[in-house]
Subunit: 224 residues, 2 copies
């Protein structure tokens, strides 16, 4: 594997494990047993590494959210979208953690991320439309659908942050992809009131599989 690719891979790994803020370029080089000079031969700066990682992330999610227009949507499709998106979130989980700082440090990233968000919102919107066409959820006016899509985006992209703050101990290390996917339960919660009678039980059953076993909720929960 080329050094350049190794740098990207190691950076992603370290960022995910420790958070971007806690990983320096020297750490990355040390982790790979290469010199800082070598790293800076391949990347002009730290931002450039992050930008490359973003491009990969973007590509992955764009691929996941490519919605086929030649056929109706099924409940399985919907679940597959959710699973895929949460897989993506997991693989690039450092990204949403320090998002605001990252965007402040790189205008190019800010611009790209903004367009990326808009594409995702459109895709979510389209999924809702097709779910309605397929009779899985009730059709809703465009206004409402757009606002719903935005809420889905907010829940999806911030569920992980919530989980980490809800953990009692240092949580960066011990978060698992299974816990993360409990966010699917929360997303489906948004759909619940719109489900058609024909699909209601079906989707509720699917949703049930992701019911959160919330992290040490018990510890201070004795009141109530």
């Amino acid at each position: 594997m080329k050094t350049r690719d190794k740098i990207i891979l190691a950076s992603l790994e370290l960022f995910n494990e420790r958070g971007e803020r806690n990983v320096t370029t020297n750490h990355i080089a040390a982790h790979l047993a290469i010199s800082p000079g070598n790293l800076y031969y391949h990347f002009r700066n730290k931002s450039d590494i992050i930008y490359e990682i973003f491009l990969e992330y973007e590509k992955l999610v764009d691929y996941y959210l490519d919605i086929p227009e030649d056929r109706a949507m099924t409940a399985e499709d919907m679940m597959f979208y959710l699973e895929s998106v949460f897989d993506g979130l997991w693989s690039y989980r450092f990204f949403h953690r320090d998002l605001e700082y990252l965007l402040d440090s790189d205008p190019r990233l800010r611009q790209d991320y903004r367009e990326f968000t808009n594409r995702c919102l459109k895709a979510i919107n389209r999924i809702f439309e097709k779910l309605a066409e397929a009779g899985i959820i009730e059709a809703q006016p465009e206004d409402l659908r757009t606002a719903m899509s935005l809420n889905v985006w907010l829940v999806v992209t911030n569920w992980m942050a919530f989980l980490k703050t809800a953990h009692a101990e240092e949580t960066y290390a011990n978060l698992t992809i299974n816990e993360l996917k409990q966010g699917i339960y929360q997303v489906l919660t948004l759909e619940v009131p719109y489900l058609t009678s024909g699909y209601r039980d079906r989707v509720l059953a699917l949703r049930e599989k992701y019911r959160p076993t919330l992290p040490d909720r018990n510890e201070s929960e004795t009141s109530g």
Copy 2:
């Protein structure tokens, strides 16, 4: 005003403006025209300043979310809760930005914040209960109510982050409290499907007042 209080105030101001990560203790001291030594006489470290600010924030929100149990809830009450909470978010807006890093650096803060979150979730839950008792929304099983409350929390606490990423330019400076309050529209969107026929139009009208005029959604709206 005592130096200690001035430090807290100036820190909050600078954190909100520039983000905690971009504000050093030396900046704070310089801003107040006091010496670093003076600052460190009053606070053992930066974390302690942040913790003090959190305590204020916590107190404020706890006060806002104190739900009177001696009377029924009105739609106005609900709106007042929303307005208040978003005011609080605005005043301490730096906090949710670097939340994860802050919690990682201070176990005491992590623990307190976790309990704070649980209290807020319970309050939201109770608000939904009382809205149902008042006939404003349909009553829902506890499970669903809890999941809904969590979604409300996610939307409330992350709406600001979304706004900032949606902005095209450097956004930390030019975000306004009015834009922030458009998050109320998103929260009410979550309630829409549960509104009773008696209150539906009423609440939809209230919601309409907060409809987002989303920041340069179409590429570059001339800012002026």
